[in-house]
Amino acid sequence: MNRIIHHPILGEKKPSKEVVIYVDDKPIIAHEGEMIAAALIANGIFINRYTLHKHKPRGIYCAIGRCTDCIMTVDGVPNIRTCITEVKEGMRITTQKGAGVWQKEDQQ
């Protein structure tokens, strides 16, 4: 949807292996090796989380792992910076609310 296929300097986007990841239980197609935040934008998803007190939506801000605005709960672990974390086949991602909760006992 929002992928840049043709580019005057970078050339054609190389074909990538597709993987399926789940965002709030809905499957989306991502490209192997790409960052979660990029896969979400490619699929038209711009909200990564809602803030703790005012429940306001947040999207990416720095895209280089500095600001933590893009944090989501990934495979049960909250506060993952999705702009610098690669997608993996079958990964389960949820839009984080506030500080998030650990979803697996054994990871506490």
Binding site: N2, R3, I4, H7, P8, I9, L10, K13, G33, E34, M35, A37, A38, I41, A42, F46, I47, N48, K56, P57, R58, G59, I60, Y61, C62, A63, I64, G65, R66, C67, V77, I80, C83, I84, T85, E86
Partner: protein, 370 residues
Amino acid sequence: MIQTELAIVGAGPAGLSAAIEARRAGADVLLIDENARPGGQLFKQIHKFFGSRAHKAGTRGINIGTELLRESQELGIRTCLKGEVCGIENGQNLWVVIDRNRSEIVKAKKIILATGATENAVAFPGWDLPGIMGAGAAQTMINVNRVLPGRKVLMLGSGNVGVIVSYQLLQAGADVVAVLEAAPKLGGYGVHTAKVARAGVPFYVSHTVKQAFGTDHVEAVEIVKLDASFNQIPGTEHIMEADTVCLATGLTPLTELAWLAGCKFKYLPALGGHLPIHDDRMRTTKENIFVAGDITGIEEASTAMEEGRLAGINAAADLGYISEEEAKIRSREIWDSLNCLRSGYFGQKRRESKDLMLQTGNEVIQWKIH
């Protein structure tokens, strides 16, 4: 525990160049970066660089990055990717969290901090809406991740990053609705500014964003004219449709590890704020710790690479792999090259601040290269 002679934090142009020089001299090097791939900000810089031919001017940042990676691979430089350096102790132990789930202590004889910089934010009502991001964030998305974060982009800031990223957004297929500049005149290199202007993008000097509107995403932006003291002039507002606002309002060096290590700092606003004091060998006030690149002041990839080489050569000399004499001669050559990069209208201001830094550094830094 991992032992190494030289640990380098950050695999951007500065860290990579430092690693290549030190490894070439024979030092055992460990290059640590929190990303899955090395290169720092280099792989998003698809424009051609300025400077002389010796500085790879006319070459695009991405190609310089590919070249540095090839060299570091040929030299067999040890890298620790997906490694976040979260602490530093006694000037020699680094606490690294690897792949988010494993803790490791790296014990190094010498450390080079080449952690780069982060983008500044500007606060206005609505600035926290999805769709409002650093210009570098948009640059990362389009050039590295190859996704378009927005279609109608308003750029705040006409400095080099502002105009370079505006042009790259156009190349990626987005529409740049305007470039705003709070100062009364434009701030970027003429060549880059002209390319954006030629593409028909309107520039508004003495203007800023008053507020952004939207519920789940930016939908429109209200801009306003500023007077000579940067106060908003009531009645000059107007609304522009935009789904993205990029903030190109400067960078701040990432200096946390240098603070933690106990390095002394100096405030130089022209270089981005509080900076770890360093001398002409890139040594800090803390024994065994060197710095290079944007952490020493916001500049460009070309200066970051030269500073990286300086730090690499002098750390290798400190470890005994290069004679003091040779390190001096090679450092002098690199300084000539740096001074040449720091000339011209933009470079001169940085040069003056760097000179102040070196003056302080050469005065207060006592530890000796062995």
